[in-house]
Structures are given as C-alpha cells and as structure tokens.
Subunit: 409 residues, 2 copies
Amino acid sequence: MKGNCIVAQSGGPTAVINASACGVIQEALAHSEITGVYAAHNGILGVLNGEIFDLRQESRKTIEGLKTSPSAALGSCRYKVKSDADYAKILDVFTAHDIRYFFYIGGNDSMDTADKVARLAAQRGYEFRAMGVPKTIDNDLAFTDHCPGYGSVIKYLATMVMEAGRDTEAIYTTDTVNVIEAMGRNAGWIAAGTALARRNNEDAPHVILLPEVPFDKEAFKAKVRSYLDTIHRCVIVVSEGTKNPDGAYISEQKGDFARDAFGHTQLGGAAQYIKSLVETEVKVKARFAIPSTIQRNGIHWASLTDSREAYLVGRQAVIHAVKGVSGKMVTLERSPHRPYRCATGLADLAQVANGEKYFPKEWITPDGFFVTRDFFDYALPLIQGEVKPVMKEGLPEFMRFEKHFLQGE
Amino acid sequence: MKGNCIVAQSGGPTAVINASACGVIQEALAHSEITGVYAAHNGILGVLNGEIFDLRQESRKTIEGLKTSPSAALGSCRYKVKSDADYAKILDVFTAHDIRYFFYIGGNDSMDTADKVARLAAQRGYEFRAMGVPKTIDNDLAFTDHCPGYGSVIKYLATMVMEAGRDTEAIYTTDTVNVIEAMGRNAGWIAAGTALARRNNEDAPHVILLPEVPFDKEAFKAKVRSYLDTIHRCVIVVSEGTKNPDGAYISEQKGDFARDAFGHTQLGGAAQYIKSLVETEVKVKARFAIPSTIQRNGIHWASLTDSREAYLVGRQAVIHAVKGVSGKMVTLERSPHRPYRCATGLADLAQVANGEKYFPKEWITPDGFFVTRDFFDYALPLIQGEVKPVMKEGLPEFMRFEKHFLQGE
C-alpha cells in the first residue's frame, strides 16, 4: 500500500520516547511504500489542528539526534479523543493528506485512539493501517513484558536515591530522614525500581511506600524507628500514589488545578506529608525531594538497553505496517532464559487499551515496605548500559526539529 | 614535624568533597613526617566524641574510590563549635592521640573552627598545624576564585533544567509552566548556574529568581506572560533564598523544625509558592520540582574539572602543612588568560571565616531575571568534563570506609 505516514507522540514524555520516534522515522524513510513521512505536532492535537510537519525536510543528523534527546521532540499532549466528531476530523485530515500509515507512540489512551481511528477508516473503506508503539514510565501496559521508558526512569531515580542516600548517611546527625517522591499514580513500578539502589542494609532506600499497600501509619513509624535504632537514619521513597486504608491519597493537591485534563486528581505532596509525619510523630528532622518531571527525562543517565528497545519497537511498528499489519501494538517479549534477551511481538490495540499491568503483589515483602528478589531479577536487566549524550561545552546538546509545517489542506 | 594527622569533613555534602578527602589522605600517606592518618567521624563531632578511625587500615581501592563517591564518606556534621570547653576538649583529644596536623574540609564555619583550634594550640605551646580545604556548593567563600563542589552542582542542575525543560516544551498544552527550586540560602550562585542550560531563546531556563533581586511580583508575572505569548511555556528556576522586597523569604517553612542547628531558617516551599502564584494569578497550570540534596551529590554527572580541583586542594593542604604552613586555607586562583587554567594559593583561615563572596550585581541582567555573558565566561570552565563513576550492574558503586575506630585514650 503506497501512501504517506504520520507519527505522533502522546502523554508524559520519557527519556527514550524520541528513540522510538527515531526508529519509526528512519525505518519509514527506508521503505518505498511510504512516500511522505510526517509528524503530528503535539500528538493527536496536531492532527485535529492541522499542525503537521514534514520530517523529510529535517536533517539526518537531527533525526539521529532523537536517540540522545529526552522528552517528546514531536510535541505531546494529554488530549483525550472522545467525540465521534473528533474521530471524523482526524480521518478527514488523514484522508486530505493521503496518510495511510499512523504510528502512535504512547500509553493506553493512545492505543485506544489509534484503534478507533483504524476502525473508523475500515468503516469508511479508507485503506489505512494504525500501529501502536508502547511508551510509559509507569510500566503498566498489558501484553508487554515492560514498557520503553521504564528502565531509564528507574535507573536514574535509583541513582538519585543512592546519591541522596549518601548525603543522609553523612549528615544524619542533623538531617536524619530523607523522603524522595517517585512518580506513579496507580502502580508502584517506579517507586519499586529504586530498590535496585540497595545492595546491603546500609544502602538507601530503607523503606518504599507503594500504592499497592494501604499506608499503615503505625507500622511505618515502627519501621522508621527500627532504622533509627540501628543505622541512625532512614531514607524513604514514597510513591505519589500512596493511599490511606480508606483509599484516599495520603496527600491530595488542592486548588483550581487539582485535576488534569482527564479528570485525574493531580498528586503531589506525598513527600511533604511523610516528612511532616516523621517530624511530628517520630520526632526527628526530615528533608524531602520531589524530582517530578526531572526523573523521566534523564537522557544523560538513561538505560542503553531501554533506549535500544525503544528504538526497536519504533522500527518494528513500521516493518509490520508495511507488511500489512494494522490495529496492533508492538510488544516486548523477554526470553525465559538467561542472559536477558528481548524480542518483539504484537498485541491488539483494543486489548492493550483496556488492560493494565499491576505490580505483582507477590513481589512486595511481607511487611509491605520493600520488594523481593524476584523484582530485582525482573528489573535489573532493564537498566544496563548508559546512553552517551552528545556534549557541547560541558552540557548535553539536544536536537530540535525545524518543523516545516504543511500548508492548509 | 613528626606526628599524626586527622582529616574531617563538615557541612553540607557535595559530589566532590570526597575527592578532597582523597587528596588529603593519599598525600598524607606519602609523607614520612605524617605517621598516623586518622579521620574524625562526622566532622568535629567525631573529635569531641572521640570517634576517630584509622585510615591506614582502609584499602587503597577504598581510598581511590573516594574520587567517584558522592557526599562525605568520613561523615559530616553541622555542629558549630562555640564554647571554650569544646575547643579545649578538641585540643585535649588531639594531644592524647599526638595529632599534629588537622585538615578540615568545609566552609566558613569549618575554617573558623580550624583557625581557633590552631590558636589555642599556639597558646598552649602544642606544636600543631591546621589547614583548611574549601568545600561548598554555595560558592560563597572569600579569597578563592570558586569553591570545589560548585562546578558539579551547577553542571548537574543545569542538565536537570535542560531535560525537564524539554518536558515542558513537549507538553506545554497542559503543563505550561515548570518551577525548579535551586539550593542557595544567601547567594544566587547555584540558581544562576542553571543559566548555562540556555543556549537560545527556546531553551530553559527562561526566568531565574535570585536572592540578590527582591522579588517583584508584577514584573515577574509580566515576564512569565511574555514567554507564554511567544513560546507558549515558561521554565522558572527559583533560588530557595529568594526574598520579598521586605526581606522575608518568599516562603518560609513552618513547624517544629523550622530552624537548623545554627538557628538559620530552614527554607523550602519557594517552588510551591511560585507554582501557586502562577496558577492563581497568571492562570496557567504549573508544576514544580525540588531536587533538594539530590543536586549536590550527583557524582554520576559531576564535573571532572571540579573533581580534579577538589583533589588538588586536598593534596596541596598536606604539602603546605608538611612544609610548615598553618592557619591557611588552600584557594583556587584562575589564570587571567585563556584557555582556563587554575592554580592554588593560600588565604588566612580567619579572613576566610569572616568573609563572604557575593554574586556580582553586575552579572544580573537589568530586568533582574537572568544573568549576563560575564557569568557564562566565569562558570563554563568549571563544568567541563565528566567524572566516570565505577559501575556495577547498571548503577554506580560507591565506596564505604570500614572505620576501624581507635580505642579510648
């Protein structure tokens, strides 16, 4: 099938989502079936707004630079496509530009969008193939062993915890407890990943608070005190999604912007809550850190394994689409044997869209404050190797597209 | 002069304070005048408490590992020596262990302590030499061009701002403003350092709030709006020490632990304050990040120039002391010519203790929201090169002393 392709990125950026875009773009440029290679600016919003730019006019160096540039260089969005009118508009724009291939890099919502556009195209009899490319630091997509973006966020956040943990180890006589807030609204994958920093009893983190474990204040205080009694300090990683036994987040943000575009409660303040609790009830001084979006964009310390897999799933999406596949997301399938190897597979977009991969309960230690060796076996292969950023005068140098926008239809 | 030496670290840890300890220890082990090489555990507290360990019993590999391990491996403290009884106790402990050389790695307070111990020793007729080794991420020590620890904190924080800046650039349609809080209680050196991330008008940071510039709310809001009008987003770096025109911090922490051991107000909340201000009065959604102690311990991304200079000032302190120098801090002296070169000098401990190096007013742009090219010329040489951490299974591996403590006197 001859025609143009479009690639878009959606949702929260990651350190390696651009590696996936690079894989899509470089592979698309190599196939004669794909005539034009376009990008939607800011995900599906760019399609709806007709903001589409031509990737063939970008230099090879810029495109290669995607591999060492964090966040979403095509632009991203959190716009949730809901109305039939939106879907009709999307397909109208695709039709106007003879776009026959759609590669959407994102999470559940993106897979849902790609799936519905493909179904509408089929209804209309418009020849069209939609492929999903997985991306999320949350690691919660179903049907894939893990998600590109996850290895890098935990490699970086675990390193932060190691380094800040040494700070507490040095200055515990005044700053006795440190609380570091990890992203992860619904699942503890990211917070759990910081466990990799801990190689012995002295090492941080000492306590991990996961959304999967209802927060037991008394047990927590006892746990912190047990560390104060033995090693005189305690470093705590708290997931932003940690909840009280009644199901409410331990600290919910107030104010005009307390909900995001999808109506999700905006979290924040989990670290401050734990810090205050420790100071008030355990009676030692505590600090806190909120790495926020810094943690998910750390290309200077990204996992090379993760980056390569992100690139691979991008390429594979194009390879499959050209062969006639549509309505699928490329998955990562881990070999059951050691050493770690990973191949790609395919899953139905609709199934991915409606699925969610929970953090396994059996990987949480009986006390609820740490993770088991099985988690280490799962996660360690994902953080191996380091991406080497392009450097300029002591700091990284990131690419930025020139963005030659297509003129109106 | 034959005798034992002791080395101690004090104050807030840095990524490279251990490189200074490494310089002191390796040089001390190489001089026959220095018989025993000891460490005070947790700075001067270790002397007062008689917690002294023998560095000759640590392996060469452990000592070399100091160069690639963040924070203060000897332990640090914020204890301010004030009473005559404390000073007498310190000298009693030194005398009991025949300690003739004292190397104190720290900031103003440490220089003051070292100076006063040396003066008391002279009064008592106890042959003794005290040397200061500069360390502070705050970069506010007088008589030195810059302070070891500063180059690394700004290299890392500038990288965080670059990376998180790309996040805002990608997802500005929902997360329009991002606020990142920089350390620096009294001076804007650290916040200013993030300016290095900005190579053109698109790049973050767009606004820097410095303690040197009284916070002008209306001018700030207008500045933010000007970025929203042009590039549709704004990344703001706010120093924790930013003050209102009345001299009060824009956000002071409340509660039982609002003051540290020195009676300084504990800061925090500057980023939340700016975030709330932007949401309430500029009416766009804002996020915030507080890297806290993570920023000062980033050995995985530390400046090689900074690390080498930290090592150098440690070595030079020993070399000078063995030659008979006492009561001095080793300084860094920048060659006036390019390319950048740095040699060491000496300054009186008492003068350093009472001095402070302010951020030059003429390096702040007329609008008060950024820094000039002169600052770039000053700071860029300090962030060149990267320390390569020792790696193990995808994460750094840091050393930890075995700590063979001396038995009671």
